[in-house]
Symmetry: C2
Subunit: 205 residues, 2 copies
């Protein structure tokens, strides 16, 4: 959570979103250097895509765009030194991971968990909708997987994720990753991360 | 045209495309610094969008994306020191400007004409489908507007533009601006221009 002393930046992402992977791996050090506090805000793109008339990722609906994205992401990850392997299937159902992340973000291990999910999904090609995979990722945090999974399936967390998705939509979010500054500026895409951090740093002082 | 001594980069753009404006204004000095020769290759996005089932710009079809794009472009142009005004209507019919550009690119004044079209469209909000506007833009090049316009309406130029659009599609181009290196790497978007120039420079040596 942001402190009153530091400018804040909300990082909106869906675990299924390809360009959210490099953004999630890059945002913490970039923001720290700029004196900006980041809030990780997982949400679901599905309902927002549905409102646009899409029943899957636009990268599947538009094959030329999809082919380009995979190649672009591969190049990008190579430049950043991030391991990369194309997830199968794509997009991965991200509901479970998003709910667990909300539990973790309230308990202090959320950000590290988010990075672990992205890493396993995009570099080991594990399925993030697999309960055993998620339980495995929880081990380093000393959280009892059964307790966490029970909380993740509880009504308050389910409602929280729906509310967050609605909040994203109301902020004008139409894709992921997106970044929103305290003064309401929206930035879309991993390639706008530096701009968003710089804007947040300026706006906060 | 590229020389045999310099690596080449094809710059594919549609005059109606918003992010093609900053790309067109930035590409020449970036490429020159990197020792890369640029070929300006105007084409029409319309037929490519139609093949994807769109009858207008996705920025009109998806309002949240459209609102974001205008704000993003405004911020971007401010950062670059480029004047900016939203064209009305959007997208502008770009057929006439593209045909005239093909005439100019064969006669040596094409690149400067392309920049003049983008400047007038995105900073003065003139209509680029207006013959008088295009004729006005031709004056500095010492080309007789009537001759140029007659050539632009000739069968060979019409066919050339259709062929170029088809060539773009075959290269995997699905939006503009796009950049294609001599070894076939595709980069999409103004924010990939630096990557594309760097790739072309590496690939050529």
């Amino acid at each position: 959570m942001p402190t009153r002393d530091m400018p804040a930046l909300d990082f909106w992402f869906d675990f299924a979103s390809t360009y959210s992977y490099p953004a999630a791996m890059r945002i913490a050090p970039l923001a720290a250097t700029a004196g900006v506090t980041v809030r990780f805000r997982p949400f679901l793109l599905g309902p927002i895509f549905k409102a646009q008339g899409w029943d899957t990722s636009p990268f599947n609906l538009y094959p030329a765009k999809g082919r380009y994205m995979w190649r672009d992401l591969e190049r990008l990850c190579a430049d950043l030194g991030l391991p990369f392997r194309q997830p199968e299937p794509f997009p991965q159902p991200s509901l479970l991971a998003a709910r667990v992340a909300l539990v973790g973000l309230a308990e202090g291990w959320g950000e590290e968990f988010c990075r672990a999910v992205f890493r396993t999904e995009f570099s080991e090609a594990s399925r993030i909708d697999d309960v055993a995979t998620i339980a495995q990722l929880l081990i380093p945090f000393g959280a009892a997987p059964d307790d966490v999974l029970a909380k993740a399936r509880s009504e308050p967390i389910k409602a929280r994720l729906r509310d967050e998705t609605q909040a994203a939509q109301q902020l004008g979010v139409f894709g992921a990753p997106s970044f929103v500054t305290a003064d309401g500026e929206l930035f879309w895409g991993n390639d706008r991360l530096e701009h968003a951090v710089a804007w947040a740093a300026r706006a906060g002082h």
